[in-house]
C-alpha cells in the first residue's frame, strides 16, 4: 500500500535514464515537484483549522507524430515506464499537427533568496499572531464574525526534457488574509477583507493591527451602504482592481492556445489592430520581480520575458507555448504553465499589467458629474469577448468628489468596446499577487496583476433598477 516518492540526489540521473526510453518521440518532458504547505485559519473566536501537507509527484509529457500524451503519478519508481505510457497515449491520439521549435539546452538552478523562511517558524508563534489580528476584528463595534488566516507554500520543481534542458526552480509564498463581517438592516452578512503577502519573507505576517481595525470598520460601512443601482456609468477603477480587469478583459484573449487553430479569431485579433487609445499599453512578464507569476523559466523550460501585448493602443503581441508559437510563426514567450504536476502546461499569463499612462489622478475625477469609484478586486471571469469582475468596495463619484459607499459593485462588458472606452490612465501603478487564476481545470495558478487608475466610459454595472 505504501508508495514512495523520492526527490533525492540521484533524481537528475534517473530522469536522464528515463528520457532515453523516448528515442522515437519528438519531445519528452519530465517534471517532478515537491510542495509543502501549512494553513492556519481562525473563524469567529476559535482556531478552525491547522493543516499541514506535502504534495509530491511527477509527470511525463510526450510528443509523438505531432500529438501529445501525458501521464502523472505520485510514485517515482519506474520513470521509464511512465515515459513509455506517455508515448503510448500520444500514439493513441494518432498523427497530429503539433510541431515545436528547437530549444537551446539550458542547465540552471534557480533558488529564492529567502529572508526569513516560513518553514523555520514555530507554528505556535504564527497562531498567536493570527489570533491577535482576529481578536482585534471580532472585538470591533458591529462585527458579527471574522476569519483570519495564514498560509504558506514552498515548492521545488525539477524539469528535464529530451532537448537537453535541466532546470530546478524554487518558489515560496506566505499570505495573511483578514476578513470581517457585519449585518445589514435585514440581518444579512456583508464582508470586507484585506491581505498581505510575500514571495521571499515570512516577516510579512507582522504589523497588521491597523489593517485589522480598518477591515472591521470597512465591513460595518459596507453592510450599511445602499445597493448600487444597475445601469451604465463612468467608472474609475483603482490599481488593485485595474490589474484584475485587464487580466480578465484582455489577458485571456492574448493566450494563443485558443487562436492558433481558429482562423476566425486570428482575423479579429490581427497584429496591428487598434484596440484602445494611444496611451493604452499592456504587458505580461514572468521576469517582473517578486510577484505571483514570477519565474525564470516556464514549465516547458523556456526562459520568461516581458511581452508587450498592447503598445500605444495597438495589438502587438500574444502569449505562447512552444506549440502555439511555432504554429503562428511567432517567438516563444515563456507562458506555458502548469498549476502542478497533475497537469500538462497550457498557455497562461504570468504578471499582467496596464502600464502607467499620462494622466493625473485628480484630473480623472474632476469632470465626472456622477460615476462610480471601484476599489479592490472580488474576483473576475471571462468567456471569449465578454468579461465580468467584481469590486471589493465601491463609492459614488459626485461632481468630481468621492461620495458615499455603495455595495455589490460588479462590472460586465465586451472586451473591444470597453478597451475603446478607457479614456484616461493615471501615472501610478501597483502590482498584486493574491488571486489565483483558473483556466479549464487548472486552478488556482499564482499570477500577478498590475495597473494604474483607469477611467472607463459607459461601463455596464449590474444591480436592481
Amino acid at each position: 500500500m505504501a508508495e514512495t516518492v523520492t526527490t533525492g540526489s540521484d533524481l537528475q540521473e534517473r530522469m536522464q535514464d528515463a528520457i532515453k526510453a523516448g528515442a522515437d518521440a519528438q519531445e519528452i518532458e519530465i517534471r517532478i515537484e515537491d510542495n509543502e504547505n501549512t494553513t492556519i485559519a481562525y473563524l469567529k473566536d476559535d482556531l478552525e483549522s491547522l493543516d499541514r501537507g506535502v504534495n509530491a509527484g511527477g509527470c511525463v509529457r510526450a510528443l509523438v507524430d505531432g500529438s501529445w500524451g501525458f501521464t502523472s503519478f505520485n510514485s517515482l519508481h519506474n520513470l521509464q515506464d511512465r515515459v513509455h505510457d506517455a508515448i503510448k497515449m500520444a500514439k493513441a491520439v494518432g498523427p497530429g499537427k503539433a510541431v515545436i521549435p528547437d530549444q537551446a539546452p539550458i542547465q540552471d538552478s534557480v533558488s529564492v533568496d529567502l529572508k526569513n523562511d516560513p518553514r523555520d517558524i514555530p507554528v505556535s508563534e504564527t497562531i498567536k499572531l493570527i489570533e491577535s489580528y482576529n481578536r482585534i476584528m471580532s472585538e470591533s463595534e458591529g462585527i458579527v464574525t471574522t476569519s483570519s488566516s495564514y498560509r504558506h507554500f514552498h515548492y521545488k520543481r525539477y524539469f528535464m526534457n529530451k532537448s537537453g534542458t535541466y532546470i530546478e526552480q524554487e518558489k515560496m509564498r506566505a499570505t495573511v488574509v483578514l476578513l470581517a463581517m457585519a449585518l445589514d438592516a435585514n440581518g444579512m452578512r456583508h464582508d470586507a477583507f484585506d491581505y498581505a503577502y510575500s514571495l521571499e519573507d515570512y516577516d510579512i505576517v507582522f504589523g497588521h493591527d491597523n489593517l485589522a481595525k480598518d477591515v472591521a470598520r470597512r465591513a460595518v460601512e459596507i453592510a450599511n451602504a445602499p445597493k448600487i443601482k444597475g445601469g451604465s456609468y463612468t467608472v474609475i477603477v483603482d490599481p488593485r482592481l485595474s490589474g484584475t480587469f485587464i487580466h480578465e478583459a484582455f489577458g485571456h484573449l492574448s493566450e494563443a492556445d485558443f487562436v492558433y487553430e481558429n482562423p476566425d479569431w486570428q482575423n479579429i485579433l490581427t497584429m496591428g489592430r487598434k484596440l484602445g487609445q494611444d496611451f493604452l499599453n499592456v504587458t505580461d512578464g514572468g521576469t517582473i520581480p517578486s510577484e505571483g507569476g514570477t519565474m525564470n523559466y516556464d514549465d516547458e523550460g523556456t526562459p520568461t520575458r516581458v511581452t508587450k501585448l498592447i503598445t500605444d493602443g495597438v495589438l502587438t503581441g500574444r502569449l505562447h507555448s512552444r506549440e502555439t508559437a511555432k504554429a503562428l510563426g511567432e517567438e516563444v514567450t515563456g507562458n506555458a504553465r502548469a498549476v502542478s504536476y497533475r497537469f500538462p502546461p497550457i498557455v497562461r499569463m504570468t504578471n499582467t499589467s496596464i502600464e502607467p499612462g499620462p494622466h493625473k489622478l485628480e484630473d480623472m475625477f474632476k469632470d465626472v458629474e456622477y460615476g462610480i469609484y471601484a476599489v479592490g478586486a472580488h474576483g473576475g471571469q471571462t468567456a471569449l469577448e465578454a468579461f465580468t469582475f467584481g469590486a471589493a468596495e465601491g463609492f459614488e463619484i459626485v461632481n468630481g468628489e468621492i461620495g458615499k459607499r455603495l455595495r455589490n459593485v460588479s462590472i460586465s462588458g465586451n472586451l473591444f468596446s470597453t478597451l475603446e472606452n478607457i479614456d484616461m490612465v493615471s501615472d501610478d501603478r501597483m502590482y498584486e499577487s493574491v488571486g489565483g487564476c483558473g483556466k479549464g481545470e487548472q486552478a488556482p495558478l499564482p499570477v500577478g496583476t498590475g495597473g494604474p487608475h483607469i477611467r472607463i466610459q459607459n461601463c455596464i454595472v449590474g444591480g436592481e433598477s
Binding site: M1, A2, E3, T4, T6, N37, K44, D46, L47, S49, L50, D51, G53, V54, N55, A56, G57, W68, G69, T71, S72, F73, N74, D85, M89, A90, A92, V93, G96, V123, S124, M181, G187, M188, R189, D191, K227, G230, G231, S232, E261, N262, W265, I268, R342, G379, Q381, A383, L384, E385, A386, T388, N408, S412, N414, I460, V461, G462, G463, S465
Partner: protein, 434 residues
C-alpha cells in the same frame, strides 16, 4: 504490517484517537480542441492523511510521501497541541449504507471507445451548426478509499465517476458566442448523446440575436447556473451556524422558503459522483432532509459540529481531497424536482428569459445572498417560444428572496453540476442590458 496498521500502531498510547484516510485513484481522459482529438492523458494518485486527537485537539498531516511513517505520526503529534478543538467522537465501527457506487462498465472503459464516442459527439453537433468550432473532454475515474481509526473501525470502498464537457463557439467580428454542456455522474448514462443534442439545439436557438430591455422578467434558471446558489449551500451548514455565518441559525422549524421547496442531501444517491457508503470520518451515509416544504429541518454536519450543536451526525464529514481536515460538506445536495419538462415550462411563459450560463458567480458575497452576474448565455421567450439570444446583460437578485417570494415552478429534468437540480422558474428577476 500494512501502512495503515503501522501508522495506527505508532500513534497508539500517544493520543486519545488516531484516524487514517488513504486514497488511491486513477483517471484517464481524452481532450479535443478545434474539433480534433488533441491529448490523451492518465493520472494516478495516492496518498494519506493522519488525524490524531490529543487532549481534545486535532493534529493533522497529509502527504503522498508515505514511506516514512514515523515522520507522518510525529508531525501530526507535534501539531496537535496547537490544533483546533475536536468535540466529537470517532465511530467505533463503520456501517455501510449498502449502495453500490462502483460501475464496472465505467471502470473498464478504454480510451479507444472514449475517442470514438467523442468523435461521434462532435460530428453530431457539428451537423447542427457547421460554422462552430468544438472543444470537448471525456474523463473516467476509479477511486479506492480506506478510512480506519484506532478504535478498530475500518471501511474500504470503491467508486467510479464519469464526466466531461462539450463546448461550441462561433466567432464573428462583433459577436462571439460560446455555449457548453457539462455534467458529472458516477457512471456512463447517455451524457455524450445528451450533450450533443442539447448543445446542438441551443446553438441553433442562439443564431438569432434579439434585443431585450432592462427590466424584471419571468426567468428560467438552468441547472448550469447553480453556482449562484452558493449562499444556500453555505447557510445550511452546521459549521456556518457555529461560526455565526448562517442567516438561518435560529430558524429551525420555521418556514424560510416557498412551501414547494424541499432540499435534501443524498449520500445514498448512486447516480451522482458525490455519494459514498460512509463519509470521510466513517459515519454511515444517509439521506438528510434539510428543508421540507419550505420549513428548515436540520443543517448538514460533521462529527465536531454535530457534537457542538448537540444533534445527531448526518454523515457529511467531507475532506474534498487529501489535504484538509474533514468538515461539513455536501454529498449530493438535491432540490426535489417538479413534474414539467423544460419545453412545458417554456410554453407557459408569455414574456420572459432563460438563463443558461452566467459568469462571475464567485464575485458575489457568499453569505448575503445578493448576486449580480454576467449573462454569458441567455435566451428570450415570447408567447411560449424561444425567439433568440440576448447579449451583454447582467442578472441581479437575492437567492434567499428568490426561494421565499419569487418561485413560480420547478422542472423535472435533473442534472448534477455540484447541485442536483432541474430548471427552476422565478418571477421578476432583474436583467440589466445597459
Amino acid at each position: 504490517m500494512s501502512f495503515i496498521d503501522s501508522i495506527l500502531d505508532k500513534a497508539k498510547g500517544k493520543c486519545e484517537a488516531a484516524e487514517v484516510f488513504h486514497i488511491k485513484s486513477e483517471n484517464t481522459s481524452c481532450a479535443w480542441s478545434s474539433d480534433k482529438l488533441k491529448l490523451v492523458g492518465a493520472k494516478e494518485t495516492s496518498g494519506a492523511a493522519l488525524r490524531v486527537i490529543k487532549d481534545g485537539k486535532v493534529g493533522f498531516f497529509a502527504t503522498n510521501k508515505t514511506d516514512d511513517t514515523d515522520f507522518i505520526v510525529n508531525t501530526a503529534l507535534e501539531l496537535a497541541p496547537y490544533g483546533s478543538e475536536f468535540a466529537g467522537e470517532l465511530p467505533s465501527e463503520y456501517k455501510s449504507a449498502g449502495g453500490d457506487y462502483f460501475d464496472e462498465k465505467t471502470a473498464s472503459l478504454g480510451t479507444e471507445k472514449m475517442i470514438a464516442d467523442g468523435n461521434k459527439m462532435i460530428a453530431a453537433v457539428k451537423e447542427k451548426r457547421s460554422d462552430a468550432l468544438f472543444e470537448a473532454k471525456i474523463s473516467r475515474s476509479t477511486m479506492e478509499s480506506t478510512i480506519a481509526n484506532s478504535y478498530g473501525a475500518r471501511a474500504s470502498y470503491r467508486k467510479t465517476s464519469f464526466g466531461g464537457h462539450l463546448f461550441g463557439s462561433v466567432t464573428r467580428e462583433g459577436d462571439v458566442l460560446g455555449i457548453y454542456e457539462y455534467d458529472q455522474s458516477s457512471h456512463i448514462n447517455g451524457q455524450i448523446d445528451r450533450w450533443a443534442s442539447e448543445l446542438g439545439r441551443k446553438l441553433v436557438d442562439a443564431e438569432k440575436i434579439v434585443s431585450l430591455k432592462s427590466g424584471n422578467y419571468k426567468t428560467i434558471l438552468m441547472p448550469k447556473v447553480c453556482e449562484i446558489l452558493g449562499p444556500i449551500r453555505s447557510a445550511l451548514n452546521a459549521r456556518a451556524v457555529l461560526k455565526d455565518l448562517s442567516p438561518f441559525a435560529d430558524k429551525v422549524g420555521e418556514k424560510i422558503f416557498d412551501e414547494r421547496i424541499t432540499l435534501f442531501d443524498d449520500g445514498l444517491n448512486t447516480e451522482t459522483p458525490g455519494g459514498q457508503p460512509v463519509d470521510d470520518e466513517g459515519v454511515t451515509a444517509q439521506k438528510t432532509t434539510l428543508i421540507e416544504n419550505g420549513v428548515l429541518k436540520v443543517f448538514i454536519n460533521d462529527l465536531h459540529s454535530a457534537s457542538k450543536l448537540g444533534v445527531e451526525p448526518t454523515g457529511n464529514g467531507m475532506r474534498g481531497g487529501l489535504s484538509a481536515t474533514p468538515r461539513a460538506g455536501y454529498t449530493t445536495l438535491t432540490l426535489a424536482p417538479g413534474t414539467k419538462t423544460l419545453s412545458e415550462l417554456i410554453a407557459e411563459i408569455d414574456h420572459g428569459v432563460i438563463i443558461d450560463q452566467v459568469m462571475g458567480a464567485h464575485q458575489a458575497s457568499p453569505f448575503s445572498g445578493d448576486f449580480s452576474v454576467n449573462v454569458d448565455c441567455g435566451f428570450v421567450i415570447e408567447d411560449g417560444k424561444i425567439v433568440g439570444r440576448f447579449k451583454d446583460g447582467m442578472l441581479s437578485g437575492n437567492v434567499f428572496k428568490m426561494f421565499s417570494d419569487q418561485l413560480l415552478d420547478t422542472g423535472s429534468e435533473q442534472r448534477y453540476m455540484g447541485f442536483y437540480m432541474a430548471p427552476v422558474v422565478f418571477d421578476g428577476l432583474t436583467v440589466s442590458t445597459g
